[in-house]
Symmetry: C2
Subunit: 227 residues, 2 copies
Amino acid sequence: MAAASPNLAALVFDAYGTLYDVTAVAARCAHHFPGNGPAVSGLWRQKQLEYSWLNALMERHPDFWRLTEEGLRFACSALGLPLSDAAAADLIGEYLKLSAYPEVPGALERLSRKLPLAILSNGTRTMLEGVTRHNGLTERFRHILSVDEAGVFKPAPRVYQLAVERLGAPKERIGFVSTNAWDAAGAKSFGLHVIWINRFKRPRERLGYEPDREIHTLDELIPIAGA
Amino acid sequence: MAAASPNLAALVFDAYGTLYDVTAVAARCAHHFPGNGPAVSGLWRQKQLEYSWLNALMERHPDFWRLTEEGLRFACSALGLPLSDAAAADLIGEYLKLSAYPEVPGALERLSRKLPLAILSNGTRTMLEGVTRHNGLTERFRHILSVDEAGVFKPAPRVYQLAVERLGAPKERIGFVSTNAWDAAGAKSFGLHVIWINRFKRPRERLGYEPDREIHTLDELIPIAGA
């Protein structure tokens, strides 16, 4: 179904939901809001993303840490749940302590022997370096790139252009790996070689830009990259 | 709580959810998908908006009619519900036959005697002219403006700039009226005088740009506009 992969020069990974498992955030929501965990975490994630898209369209760029807090505050307000500053700090702090998905450390170890690897995420540099260090994966990456360097959020083309500039490779030889289907579509619209990790068996988004490959865990990337 | 309104030179209205009641779409979903009406209509509306934001960030501009269809097709696919072409056409066609909220015709009649009125919406010109004609309101508006003239969706500043160019008034003297809190935030970030119709008693979005006024039905705009 997928065309043969090109001779890839580098691999670039999204962070949240792609390398790092965000379900710990949902579990922490259940701790603070018994009986309302899924409602809070679902609306929080939706607003975190919406606020990134809306701010980008408004040509504003508050950082992702702040949007993460604003999304949480909206979710609690909309659900009528009081949120103390201590609980907010605890919940947002989870983003620095997320665990990598189980297969990620081993897969990155093999992939990094074959190709330069990078992270490209909506997160701030502090958030991305923090969670990567927490997982002992700092050495695996040639670059950890935050959208802050582009001054706009995904899926704006300027974000994906950062990868091209930093890796110094033609865009069609950069493999971009994301679990987020809208991020995969944005990268494909820009012109990267896109591998969608469909971890959650979701239907494809109807944005008009299909991934070059669809896989389900990072292990499946190893033969594709020849690693 | 709100500052005194400036000497307004014109009023510009969002369309869907502001002038025209979209609950008929939900009712039609319940007809086609018994037991799943709210699930389909909720996810459909969410995707319709998400696709407008994502395409705008990707610097692509499929029109809103097409995004409306893609959103519907995604919703049915995600929910595992078959969607015939006839049902799709029937459901999307509802957008041309929406009714104005009950107070809208009378309020527009009074407001139009005092100030020039315009519509500024994500909808295509065909969609906007169709639903306005259906409600017998064509004569009330000096301009019916589609984002297609700007080549991008709300809340990009270029969209709100259209109102300034067509109405020939300073932006702070243009009253922009929307039920959609994110649209109100975008208009405020751009610099219009913003009146948020909070029809559904929703919490404010945490986007950093508060409306100048919050009202609950269009009737409340009459004294504000001195009409």
